[in-house]
């Protein structure tokens, strides 16, 4: 064990003699070049581009649903009932005889919205909170992180029930509530990153040239913590979508006849042996979307990784 410790501190010692980081300060000062560089690098990554293309396609399809959907999402045909894919219903119908393709498209609107909004809320609160706690440190950090612990420990379901009762049923509220819970882990991750970053020379350099704390957080710490943040964001999006499905399933989320991908899947699971298409198509849509999202996220992470690009 001691050998391990020694060799690490040796390695660390040699790091301090290098000054690669100072360059990166200049790079961030320019601001735009980071993103244009990243874009150039992203363009070379075929998987990420495919992911991006697929996401744009899905988002457009869901956006234009009211104009392109072949049926109404609540339009029933009880006599038809559940039917397998056919020329009239490309992906089949559910037990009410509702067109599955239409329902997937409309469900996508809810799922993508919840993914986007709840994740943005989580990202915004989590990154800010974590960055401040990690950078300021000391008592402020302790208080902020203990607050995170408290919210972690509160019974989430009761919290959601109360929100619904006090503010009434509202889709936006649901998005917000999910985001308000998901930011906790994000804050912990960002704080850890910032804590280790702020010890590094380029931050110390920035402090010595008299940049304000806020400027340091904004210009140096957050961009450098982007990698893990992006990775965790791509992990958060699926989990908020599933949380929405879970809450809706329990009667705490969206109301029928509206639906979402997660809900379609959870209903599909119940009858997966009798009507497999009700599970396969929504499942495939969700899985492909999340795949695309993850490939894009990885691509972005790699593209924004300044150090890797220097190699």
């Amino acid at each position: 064990m001691s050998e391990m410790l020694n060799s690490t501190s040796e390695a660390q010692g040699s790091t301090s003699s290098q000054s690669g980081r100072v360059d990166s300060i200049n790079e961030y000062e320019k601001g735009t070049s980071l993103w244009s560089d990243a874009w150039l690098r992203l363009k070379k990554n075929p998987l990420a581009l495919t992911g991006l293309g697929f996401l744009v396609f899905i988002a457009l399809a869901c956006l234009c649903t009211p104009w392109i959907a072949p049926y109404g999402y609540e339009e029933q045909n009880l006599l038809l009932g559940a039917s397998p894919p056919s020329p009239q219903h490309w992906l089949g119908t559910d037990t009410f005889g509702r067109d599955l393709l239409t329902r997937i498209l409309y469900g996508g609107r809810v799922s993508l919205m919840v993914g986007l909004i709840a994740t943005s809320v989580a990202l915004l609160i989590g990154v800010t909170w974590g960055a401040i706690a990690g950078f300021v440190g000391g008592k402020v950090d302790a208080v902020m992180m203990r607050l995170v612990d408290i919210i972690y420990a509160l019974p989430f379901m009761i919290f959601i029930v109360l929100l619904m009762v006090v503010f009434g049923r509202n889709l936006w509220l649901l998005f917000f509530a999910i985001g308000a819970v998901e930011w906790l882990t994000m804050a912990r991750i960002v704080r850890g990153q910032v804590q280790s970053l702020k010890e590094q020379e380029f931050v110390e350099a920035a402090i010595s040239i008299g940049l304000s704390k806020w400027a340091i957080i904004r210009r140096h710490l957050i961009p450098n913590a982007l990698g893990p943040v992006i990775v965790y964001t791509t992990l958060t999006i699926p989990s908020v979508m599933l949380l929405e499905a879970f809450l809706s399933f329990l009667g705490l989320g969206i109301q029928p006849p509206q639906s979402s991908w997660g809900l379609l899947i959870s209903y599909g699971v119940e009858s997966m042996e009798e009507y497999p298409w009700l599970l396969i198509y929504p499942g495939l849509t969700l899985t492909l979307t999340l795949f695309a999202l993850n490939f894009l996220g990885d691509g972005l992470r790699d593209a924004l990784d300044v150090r890797a690009s220097k190699d």
Binding site: T8, S9, Q18, R146, P155, D302
Partner: protein
């Protein structure tokens, strides 16, 4: 180091106290009481029931009485299960959930850790894409989909494994552990890949290589330790998350775990049970977050020297 642990432990006491207080009052404001049911309960009967559980007293004296009992380790009688104490219910459910969580985490670390590290060694090649895509399936497949699918294949079609239970029939622990582990494996894979990529581009790794250390030593000793920081930071919340979030698995597989008790307590408005579980989980969360912070600090050379100063 000892100071750190001590000060964090001291900080935890107010955290848990605040959690208890908020939860105590939160559950009382949720609509519906523990004794409401489909068939209406006559007022006299309801009054008698409330008297048996001190619910007829003013809220603040109930609160004081609860804290008094808690100080003696008594979490009170369950409202929903009149012959049981909350202590007994937790003592029954916790070991099961903990065992399930432990297997799941081990499976997640094995599958996720390996795929993440393997992928990071050759980014953007087949060696990266194949394990990462497999790992991604875990995130993209919600547990309420994966569980029934595994049951269908291994329990019903192949008849290799039992479809439900925990410790009742031989082999009945395999499917639930895998289902729960799969979701976490994906997270671990992505976090460890990100972490490894980050570390392998660090200067001290280059230095180590330049010094002619074998690649094995570089990867396993220097790389892994730094690269696993995000994973370790994630483990604390993940374990706590498993304890409170194994509800879906426990429901699908009919497992008598704490996750199921907790969610049902929330639905039943079993005040003492909600509070008991919350107190218990809050303590665990605080402990696990502390442990994971300690471990992350130990793995991060800079933070370690700051904490311990004993090198």
């Amino acid at each position: 180091m000892l100071n750190f642990i001590l000060s964090r432990s001291m900080q935890s006491i107010p955290v848990i106290f605040v959690v208890i207080t908020i939860t105590f009052f939160l559950v009382r404001f949720a609509p519906g009481g523990p004794f409401d049911d489909e068939k209406s309960v006559e007022p006299e009967v309801k009054a008698a029931l409330e008297a048996q559980y001190r619910l007829d007293q003013p809220l603040f004296s109930q609160y004081a009485a609860y804290l008094g009992d808690l100080a003696q380790g008594d979490l009170g009688p369950s409202f929903k299960y009149p012959g049981r104490s909350v202590n007994e219910l937790i003592a029954t459910g916790f070991p099961v959930t903990a065992e399930l969580g432990l297997y799941a985490i081990l499976i997640a670390l094995c599958i996720g850790g390996i795929s993440g590290v393997v992928a990071a060694l050759k980014p953007n090649t087949a060696q990266d894409y194949v394990p990462m895509s497999l790992a991604m399936l875990g995130i993209c497949m919600p547990t309420f989909l994966l569980g029934p699918l595994l049951i269908l294949v291994f329990g019903i079609w192949l008849e290799w494994l039992p479809v439900s239970g925990w410790g009742d029939l031989p082999g009945d622990k395999i499917l639930p552990s895998f289902t729960l582990g799969a979701a976490y494996a994906a997270y671990v894979a992505r976090l460890s890949r990100g972490g490894m990529l980050e570390v392998m581009s660090q200067d001290y790794i280059r230095t180590a290589r330049a010094k002619g250390l074998p690649e094995r030593v570089v990867v396993l000793k220097h790389g892994l330790r730094g690269g696993m920081i995000p994973v370790v930071a994630y483990l604390g919340p993940a374990f706590a998350g498993i304890l409170s979030g194994s509800f879906v698995i426990e429901t699908i597989f009919q497992i008598h775990g704490l996750g199921r008790f907790y969610v049902q307590a929330a639905f039943n408005r079993d005040y003492t049970m909600i509070l008991g579980c919350t107190v218990f989980l809050a303590t665990l969360i605080v402990v696990f977050n502390l442990l994971s912070d300690l471990l992350a600090a130990w793995m991060n050379p800079r933070l370690r020297s700051q904490l311990g100063g004993n090198q």
